[in-house]
């Protein structure tokens, strides 16, 4: 399990863009080339070697220590191997990630997992707004992969999300699943107010929902086979990290009927 370690030399005074800083890319470069990679966003640029102490050798892991909320696009474009971050990260972490594993031992900023098509994201703390959401100019938000957030997440999680699974151990904020097209968000601590505005398809699962939009309709109590499949699938890939299975019977709330109404909110049937 060899790999490079980046340690932030001093608290960042500008935004740092770590898009494309992946174990595979670093393994293909010489130490001089690694140190010269531009991670700045301002005119003069910022070399990776000026911002971070770089140690270790090429491998399939990358560790980032002393991280902070100024580090954007961490894990952006990750396709294999793993990146482990000790500390918080800024916006757009895991942007367009296609594979591998991104582990954030801290909090994540806005737009975590936007455009992600594969791989696994783990956040030990909270995540900001628009988790798995689409950024301006994107047609879709999250397109695949699996994200686990141990804490709470902000507003509009899963906006225009098309595929993939998000598991939130805590609560989701307002507007979860807004304009959602597919995929699954499972909020073990509960779903925030007014979820699923203009939701077309997709599934929101939780023990409760704070306030429903009037365009969501109660379909009644059901024993859904797909819930069993989902629970077994998650247990298989996540083991102990899998959410606690839903009870046999769930209440299905369909919407948004102002769109095509194929989306659903699944709550334990009382």
């Amino acid at each position: 399990m060899s790999g490079f370690t980046l340690r932030l030399k001093a608290p960042a005074t500008e935004r740092i863009n770590l898009a494309g800083i992946t174990p595979a890319r670093l393994a293909s470069l010489s130490s001089h080339e690694i140190g010269s990679l531009n991670v700045g966003i301002e005119k003069g640029g910022l070399a990776l070697g000026d911002a971070f102490d770089i140690s270790g050798s090429a491998g399939d892991t990358l560790t980032i220590e002393g991280s902070g909320a100024a580090l954007d696009f961490v894990g952006g474009g990750l396709d294999s191997g793993s990146i482990r971050i000790i500390g918080d990260v800024g916006a757009y972490a895991a942007r367009k990630m296609t594979g591998g594993k991104l582990e954030i031992r801290g909090n994540a900023g806005n737009y975590l997992g936007s455009g992600t098509t594969g791989g696994r994201i783990y956040v030990s703390g909270n995540a900001g707004d628009n988790l798995g959401g689409a950024i301006a100019g994107d047609r879709f938000g999250m397109l695949g992969g699996l994200a686990i957030i141990e804490g709470n997440v902000g507003h509009r999680a899963g906006e225009k999300m098309r595929r993939g699974i998000v598991i939130v151990r805590g609560k989701t904020g307002e507007g979860t699943g807004t304009r959602m097209i597919g995929g699954t968000i499972w909020a073990e601590g509960g779903i925030g107010p007014t979820p699923g505005l203009m939701m077309r398809r997709g599934t929101l699962i939780g023990p409760s929902v704070e306030r429903l939009l009037p365009t969501f309709v109660d379909c009644g109590k059901h024993d859904l086979v797909i819930i069993r499949i989902l629970a077994r699938y998650l247990k298989g890939v996540l083991g102990d990290l899998a959410p606690k299975p839903m009870p046999l019977f769930v209440r299905k709330i369909a919407g948004d009927m102002a769109a095509i109404g194929r989306g659903e909110i699944l709550l334990p049937a009382s």
Partner: protein
């Protein structure tokens, strides 16, 4: 040169089998009883590709731990001339026999490099109300039906390495004893994974030869093994033979077919003699038509 095992003569011959395409499908339901019902109906009229379009059967029952939804299930196998030939068979059999069965769900029952549509056609029964859920590499369709939702995986694996037509002919002088022995052999074969015996109860009483005197007939009665024609044709049967029963075996691999034949031969030679079994042989076409040859002496 033939050999005798426990009083049963084993001919020095071989079963000649053919390359086929095969697929596996898992059917689950609320209870094993209903999974079995759906599987039995879906594999009905699936004895021979000649007249049925596919050769089908139940491979084995699955415990809840072995199925994607944690309910009891049954794995069925289907064999055809090609993956394309299996497409309408899957569409019709699943659409008419599994989709309609209370509480049923349907999943891929074979992992292979090549895949074939499973729920691609039946999902349209949902009339636009169907939705999909992709988990990992599998996509599951949810079709609203009157008892809830019919869940069906989009694709299943298909192999072109399958083998059809492994066989053994059990010859004897007691028809009831012969049937009991054949039943025991089918029971032994059913314990081998990845194979089916597609004929009724796994047993064929109307073994066939290629062609016929009538135009348009692909196969006709195997006169050389019909005891009532002994003396009138070039018979393969001795003077004391009263009946012959055949067991046909299809498998996803040649190895599985060989294992199944081994299990069947063992069952017949273990208990056959006391029930009137005198001889065991196999059907072939001189070795010129089928790619797979299973020599009985190698499997004893």
């Amino acid at each position: 040169m033939s050999m005798t095992v426990n009083g049963v003569v084993v001919d020095d011959t071989f079963a000649e089998a053919f390359g086929m395409s095969g697929t596996g499908i898992i059917i689950t339901a609320d209870t094993l009883k209903w999974a079995r019902i759906a599987a039995t109906v879906a594999t009905g009229f699936g004895t021979s590709v000649i007249g049925c379009g596919a050769e089908c059967g139940i491979d084995r029952e699955l415990s809840p731990d072995e199925t994607p939804d944690g309910r009891p299930g049954v794995r069925i196998l289907m064999f055809g001339f090609s993956p394309d030939a299996l497409v309408p068979q899957i569409r019709n059999r699943i659409g008419q026999c599994v989709l309609t069965s209370p509480g049923s769900a349907c999943y891929a029952g074979l992992k292979a490099a090549q895949s074939i549509g499973l729920g691609k056609a039946p999902r349209f029964f949902g009339d636009g109300f169907q939705t999909a859920k992709k988990l990992g590499t599998s996509r599951y369709w949810r079709v609203p039906v009157m008892d809830g939702e019919f869940v069906i995986e989009e694709e299943t694996g298909v192999t072109t390495e399958a083998v059809g037509g492994g066989n053994m002919l059990i010859v004897g002088n007691d028809r009831a004893g012969l049937l009991e022995t054949a039943e025991e052999a089918v029971e032994a074969i059913s314990k081998v994974d990845d194979v089916i015996t597609p004929f009724p109860g796994g047993i064929v009483r109307s073994g066939s030869k290629v062609g016929a005197k009538y135009s348009g007939m692909f196969a006709s009665t195997n006169d050389a093994f019909c005891p009532t024609l002994r003396g009138t044709v070039k018979s393969e049967l001795g003077p004391d033979t009263l009946a012959v029963l055949e067991i046909v075996i299809d498998g996803l691999t040649s190895k599985a077919v060989a294992e199944a034949m081994r299990a069947g031969l063992k069952a017949v030679t273990n208990s056959g003699a006391k029930r009137g079994v005198t001889r065991i042989t196999a059907g072939n076409y001189g070795g010129k038509l089928g790619q797979h040859h299973y020599h009985l002496k190698d499997l004893i």
